[in-house]
């Protein structure tokens, strides 16, 4: 019986590690992406293309001169991103953490290891957005929707799976 329990535990562990991809593949290449607002993005967050995980955020620092958040993305070497790809910080739902989703571009040349994604879109400040919809004159961001259609406009950025 003890052997059965051990075998079950070992089996589940192996299965999880193979699915979860904890074995970080060596040879991942790093690219940088600058964001105006990193929001709740943290090191270890997933980087995905079309919803498929292709890497992780390895570190986030502040560039002192421009006050931009610089995220280092560690990307699977089999994934080559066109140079005009767009990196966007999206949230995994209201209570979930943030991750970086990359929309591939159409350029012929790829981003080289150590390169940078030029087109970025920072995290959406959900509460600022809601506030600007509730009180449109209260000086919100320019992303605020017109007061005529408050409900769908407020719910759209939140549902960005």
């Amino acid at each position: 019986m003890g052997v059965v329990v051990l075998a079950l535990a070992a089996g589940f562990l192996t299965y999880s590690l193979s699915v979860g991809g904890v074995h970080m593949k060596r040879g991942n290449y790093e690219i940088a992406a600058k964001f105006g607002e990193a929001g709740s993005l943290a090191p270890g967050a997933a980087v995905s293309v079309a919803g498929v995980k292709v890497g992780t955020v390895s570190e986030i620092t502040l560039e002192p001169k421009t006050f931009l958040a610089v995220a280092k993305l560690s990307i699977d070497p089999t994934v080559k991103l066109p140079s005009d790809s767009t990196a966007k910080i999206t949230s995994d739902g209201i209570l979930g953490g943030a991750h970086v989703s990359i929309a591939p571009g159409a350029a012929m040349d790829d981003i080289k290891p150590g390169g940078q994604i030029e087109n970025t879109q920072g995290a959406v400040d959900l509460f600022g957005l809601i506030g600007s919809v509730i009180r449109p004159q209260g000086g919100g961001s320019d992303a605020a929707a017109p007061a005529a259609a408050p409900a769908p406009a407020a719910s759209q950025p939140a549902v960005s799976y």
Partner: protein
């Protein structure tokens, strides 16, 4: 006034009752403390009885695996269902994998595994050593100049401290597997997402703190079994009483030290 009346008066005098029970409690704590120090000294200094040690590793560790595994898998499954229901009240069913993982590794894995061990191992140790005490085998051992602390208590304490974290690690894994089974088979979670959420969320210290707790609980379980068995009095009935005391006291001490350790870890983390 006859002697019987006098004795009854003494027994019912509230001040005397209070004093006697306080002294009894203090004496108990003291004797457990002395016993623990003697046991730990015997466990950590040579000569060691390796045959005894191996036998205890197998008895405490390996043969406890089935009961620990069964407890963990059902707990994980029930926890998953409960958190799914609770999370649904504010549309947060999706955080279920994380909460199951946290609850199992930090709290339920170590505590439930060691409670099962308290029932299985603590009672067995108390009965074994208590029977040896009742049949005067321990005195015979002394006569043959074998220290019972070295031969009986030390190996059991070592086995408790070393085996319990391993059992807790198995309980963690199986418990999360139980939650995963229910989530994927009953609640339509995606298997890969569940596992990735769990792995991304768990930090080393979530598991580490649980294993440190488990080592302490393992020590408590072995110590209580040895102490009550070693101090068993009065033949077969004394052995029965010793097993009961061993199980009850190790369960209470596990819960109390669990709270203390959790407080300590929470403050240390801040």
């Amino acid at each position: 006034m006859t002697a019987g009346e006098a004795a009854r008066k003494v027994a019912t005098n509230p001040v005397r009752v209070l004093g006697r029970s306080t002294l009894g409690a203090v004496r108990m704590v003291g004797s457990v403390g002395v016993f623990a120090v003697r046991g730990v000294t015997a466990a950590l200094t040579p000569p060691w009885f390796f045959g005894q040690l191996m036998r205890q590793f197998v008895a405490i560790g390996f043969f406890s695996l089935p009961v620990v595994g069964l407890t963990a898998i059902f707990t994980g499954a029930a926890l998953a269902l409960n958190i799914f229901t609770g999370g649904g009240r504010f549309n947060a069913e999706q955080v279920m994998p994380q909460i199951v993982a946290l609850g199992i590794t930090r709290e339920l894995g170590p505590v439930l595994a060691s409670l099962m061990l308290a029932g299985r191992v603590s009672a067995a140790i108390a009965a074994e050593i208590g029977a040896m005490r009742a049949t005067e085998q321990i005195d015979a051992m002394r006569t043959l100049s074998t220290d019972p602390f070295r031969y009986l208590v030390g190996p059991r304490l070592l086995a408790g401290v070393l085996m319990m974290p391993l059992l807790a690690a198995v309980a963690d894994t199986i418990g999360i597997a139980g939650g995963w089974l229910v989530a994927t088979r009953v609640l339509d979670f995606s298997s890969a997402v569940y596992i990735r959420n769990t792995l991304d969320f768990l930090q080393g210290w979530d598991i580490g703190s649980g294993l440190v707790k488990a080592a302490v609980f393992g020590f408590i379980v072995a110590l209580m079994g040895c102490y009550h068995g070693y101090n068993a009095k009065g033949g077969a009935r004394g052995v029965g009483r010793a097993t009961t005391h061993a199980v009850v006291s190790s369960a209470i001490l596990i819960f109390a030290s669990d709270y203390l350790l959790t407080t300590l870890f929470t403050h240390a983390a801040q």
